[in-house]
Symmetry: C2
Subunit: 482 residues, 2 copies
C-alpha cells in the first residue's frame, strides 16, 4: 500500500498529490454532513437541513410556466427539433449570436439599463467558476497575487489559485464598519503583499457580497476603481448576485462607475464575472460569463472558453428565454419580491430570539451574528459551536472561518434553497437552540451530553412560530414551554 | 498605441501575451478562409468547401426522430418539465447517476462489450478538450513532457500544454510502415526527451487516429502499454472516434488490452479520454469524459470538473437517449454504415485520378497522399500546394504540417461534415484539379496565374462523376473534356 502511495506521489502532479483545492473546510464538510443525513419532512424529519447551499429555488414555477408555453425554445419539441442538428454541431467559441445578444441585454436590464454591454465582449465559461479561472490565467502568472476583501466565497481559492498557481492575498474587513472595504484596508494589504515579495496583479470584489448579503455602495466602488487604476492593477468584479437585490439601496455595477469615470480610467483593467446560476437559479446549466473591457483578454479568454463552453442546447434555451423581455421583467420583479419575503422571515425569527444579522439587502443568505454564543472569541470556539449546530441542531450553516472572516462568531445562513415549510422547521430549530442556550450556555459544551439533553424541555412553540412567520398577526412568537 | 501595448505586456499574464494557444497554423487558417467565403450551392457556388472540420453530420435524422418520439427526455416538454427545477439546480460534480450509468454502458457497447466501465470512474469535462487538460493537470507538472506520435491532432497543443505548461514531445512516425507506432520510435523519443532534460510523464495515443483514419492494432496497443509500464509513466488513450470504425479490423480499446494484462500491469497508469462530439456528432453539447483507473486521478479530476461540467439539461437528454439500448444499437450500425459509404465515395473518386490515401477504416476523414503534386519534398512546397488548393480549388483540407507530420505532402480530408451533393462538388473540384495538374504541373506554380487560367479547359465531367459516386454503374468517371 505504502509503495503504491509512494509511486502515486512520483507519477502524479503536485496538484493531484497536494491539497490546493481547499475542499477540507467546514464549508464543504457541512455539505457532506447534509448528504449523509438529509432532512425530509416525511422520511427523515430529524435529518440535517441544508442552509449551506447558496441556491435560488424560489421562482422555478415562473420558469417552468414559460418553458411550457415556449416549446420553440427547445430542440426536443416538434416546434424546435428541426434545428437539432444545427445546434448540436455548433461549437464555435463565440457562442450563438442570439445567446450573446440576449445575455448582454439581460445584464443591462439587471443593471437598470444604466450600463451598456457589447455582445462581442461576452465570453462563455463553465459557470462563474470557469470565468474566474480563465480570467486569472489571463491576468496573472504563477506566484502573482490578487487582493480579495474578507470574508469571501470559499470557492475563490479553488477558482483563482488551484490550477493557475496564483495566490489570493486578504484585505481584512471587520464588523466595526459592517465589513466595508476601505481604501486604507486595500492599500495596507497591497503593501503587505509587496513586502512578502508578491507581485500584486489585481483586486477582486464581489458585489453583492457572498457571504455578507450586502451591495457595495457607489463610493466604495469608485474607491476600488481609483485604487486599482492608481496601482495599474486589475479590478475584477464578481457580480453573480446582481439580480438578487430585494431592498434598497439598489445594485450599482462597476460598469456604471466605469462609464462615469471613463475620461480618467483605463478600461483595460476592468473585468466583470457573471453567471446565471444565482440570478436565475440554474447552476446545473453552467452558464458562466466573463465580460472584459480589455480586447486582449477577450481574445485570449475566448480561446480558453473551449475548456468550458456552454452546451448549445442550453445556449438556445437561455437565448429564447432572456429575449422575452416581458418575461424577464416579470421574473426579476417577482423573484426579488420573493427573496425579500424570505429574508424578512429569517431576520424576524432570529431577531425575536435576540440574534442579530448584518443588515442585508441582497443575495440568497444572511450573515448571522452568533458571537455571544461563543465560549471564547476564537475560531476554535466557532468551530465548536458549528459542530453543535450541525450535530445537535441538525442545521448546516457555514462558519465565518470558511469564508476567511477575520472575526469569529459569524455564520452564513442560506434561505432560498428550500420550501417554506422546511424554512420554518429550520428557523424553529435555530430559535429553540438559541433560547435553550440562553438559559443554559454550558450546553454548548460538548463534553456534557447528558446534562445537555436533560434541559431540552425548554423550547419554543413550532405552531406559533409558523403562524408568526407566515404572517398571521399573533403575540410574541417564542416562549419557554412549561 | 505602443504605450498601451507595453502596458498590456506588463499587466497581463505570459499566457495572454504570448502565442501558446497554437491558433496560428494552417489548420485554423483554413477554417477562417472557409468562414470568409463559405460555399453554398445557391448563393455562393464558387465559395470554399469546408473539408477541414472533423464533424459527423451523417446520422442526425436518426437522432431527431428519437428525440421527437421521446418527449420525456427533455425538460422543456409537458412530459419532462416537472423535473425542470431538480435538473436546473443539480450541480454535483459527480453528475446525474443516470448519465454516468448510460455513458459507461454506451462505452461498453461501442467496445463490443469486451470491456467493463465503472460509472463511478466517469468524470465529466468540457469536451475531450477539457478532459485532456484536466488529465494533464493531474499527471504532470510544468516543464514535464508527454510523448505523442506524429501526425497528431493540432488541438493537443492547446489542450495538453497551453495552461498546464507541460510540453509535448513527438514520436516520429512515417509512411514507410503506414505511420505505425513502434517500440523503437517511442523509446527513441523517450531518451531524446530525457537528453533534453525533460521528465517524461506519459505517452498519449489516439485510437482511432485523427488524422490517419486508422485503428491501432492489438500488438501496437500491447506494446504501448508495456513500454509505459516499463518506464512507470502514464498511458493516455484518446478514444473519441471509437464508434466511427466502418470497416475491419474492428476497434480494440486499451481497456480490453489492460484487462487481458491485468496481472502484469499497474492500472493506475492508464487513462481514457472520451467524448460524444464525434461518435454521436454532438460537439455543441460539450460532453467530455475522462475515465481513469487511478483513484487519485478520479478524485482530483472530479474536483476539477467544476471548471467544465456538462449542462444538466444535456446530461438528462443524453442519459435518456443512451439508455435506450435498441436505439443505440440501431444508431451505431447505421452511422458506421453511412460513414463507410461516404469514405468509399471519397476513396473511389481520388483513386480514379490516381490519388492514393492511407488505407483507413475509421474516423470522419481520410489521409490523402499528394506527395507527387509537390514541387519539392518540403513543407514550404506543401504550404504552397495548400494555398493553391484553398485559394483556387476552393477547398479547405488540412496540410500534414499542421498535424506535426514528419513527411510533407499529406493532407487530411474530412468527409462527414456535409451533405452528399456538396461532397460530390468537393470531389469534382479535387479531381479536376488533379487531372489538370497532371497535364500541366507548372500550374501549381502560383507565379503564373495567366498561364494557369488558360489551361483550365482541361476538366472532368461533373455529371459523370456524380453518377459514378452515387453508385450508378458507369464507365470511367473522369476524363478530359474536349
Amino acid at each position: 500500500m505504502e509503495l503504491v502511495l509512494r509511486n502515486q506521489e512520483q507519477v502524479l502532479s503536485k496538484i493531484a498529490t497536494s491539497d490546493g483545492h481547499g475542499e477540507n473546510s467546514a464549508y464543504f464538510d457541512g455539505w457532506k454532513a447534509y448528504d449523509s443525513d438529509p432532512y425530509n419532512p416525511v422520511n427523515n424529519p430529524d435529518g440535517v437541513i441544508q442552509m449551506g447551499l447558496s441556491e435560488n429555488q424560489l421562482s422555478f414555477d415562473l420558469v417552468q410556466e414559460w418553458v411550457l408555453s415556449h416549446p420553440e425554445a427547445s430542440l426536443c419539441t416538434p416546434e424546435g427539433a428541426r434545428e437539432f442538428k444545427d445546434i448540436a454541431i455548433f461549437q464555435d467559441y463565440h457562442g450563438l449570436q442570439e445567446f450573446r445578444n440576449a445575455v448582454a441585454r439581460f445584464m443591462e436590464r439587471v443593471r437598470g439599463n444604466r450600463a451598456v454591454f457589447d455582445p462581442d465582449r461576452i465570453v462563455m465559461s463553465g459557470g462563474a467558476t470557469g470565468a474566474q479561472e480563465t480570467l486569472t490565467f489571463c491576468l496573472a502568472d504563477p506566484g502573482d497575487a490578487i487582493l480579495v476583501p474578507t470574508p469571501y466565497y470559499p470557492g475563490n481559492d479553488r477558482d483563482l489559485t488551484w490550477r493557475t498557481r496564483v495566490c489570493l492575498f486578504p484585505v481584512i474587513c471587520d464588523s466595526s464598519n459592517g465589513f466595508k472595504i476601505t481604501r486604507e484596508g486595500v492599500e495596507s494589504a497591497y503593501y503587505k503583499a509587496q513586502d512578502s515579495n508578491l507581485r500584486v496583479k489585481g483586486l477582486l470584489i464581489n458585489n453583492p457580497s457572498n457571504p455578507l448579503g450586502t451591495v457595495l455602495d457607489r463610493e466604495t466602488l469608485t474607491e476600488c476603481l481609483r485604487f486599482t487604476q492608481d496601482k495599474n492593477i486589475h479590478l475584477i468584479c464578481d457580480e453573480i448576485y446582481s439580480a438578487t437585490v430585494f431592498r434598497q439601496p439598489g445594485f450599482v455595477s462597476i460598469a456604471e462607475i466605469m462609464q462615469e469615470n471613463l475620461s480618467r480610467c483605463d478600461p483595460n483593467l476592468v473585468h466583470i464575472v457573471y453567471s446565471l446560476s444565482k440570478d436565475l437559479g440554474f447552476p446545473g446549466f453552467r452558464v458562466g460569463i466573463l465580460y472584459s473591457y480589455n480586447d486582449a483578454v477577450v481574445t485570449t479568454a475566448r480561446k480558453m472558453s473551449s475548456f468550458g463552453l456552454v452546451s448549445t442546447q442550453t445556449q438556445r434555451l437561455i437565448a429564447s428565454m432572456l429575449s422575452d423581455e416581458s418575461f424577464v421583467e416579470m421574473f426579476l420583479q417577482e423573484s426579488t419580491r420573493r427573496l425579500g419575503t424570505r429574508h424578512r422571515m429569517m431576520s424576524k425569527a432570529l431577531a425575536q430570539v435576540g440574534i442579530g444579522s448584518l443588515r442585508g439587502n441582497a443575495g440568497l443568505y444572511g450573515w448571522m451574528d452568533l458571537r455571544r454564543l461563543l465560549k471564547a472569541p476564537t475560531f476554535e470556539a466557532e468551530m465548536e459551536l458549528w459542530h453543535v449546530i450541525i450535530d445537535d441542531v441538525k442545521i448546516n450553516v457555514s462558519p465565518g472561518a470558511s469564508f476567511h472572516c477575520s472575526e469569529p462568531g459569524w455564520f452564513r445562513v442560506c434561505f432560498a434553497n428550500m420550501d417554506e415549510e422546511t424554512m420554518v422547521v429550520a428557523l424553529y430549530r435555530i430559535c429553540k437552540f438559541v433560547v435553550h442556550n440562553k438559559e443554559s450556555p454550558e450546553n454548548v459544551d460538548r463534553r456534557k451530553p447528558c446534562q445537555r439533553r436533560s434541559k431540552l424541555e425548554i423550547s419554543v412553540s413550532f405552531r406559533r412560530l409558523k403562524d408568526e412567520l407566515l404572517m398571521t398577526p399573533r403575540s410574541a412568537m417564542v416562549q419557554v414551554k412549561e
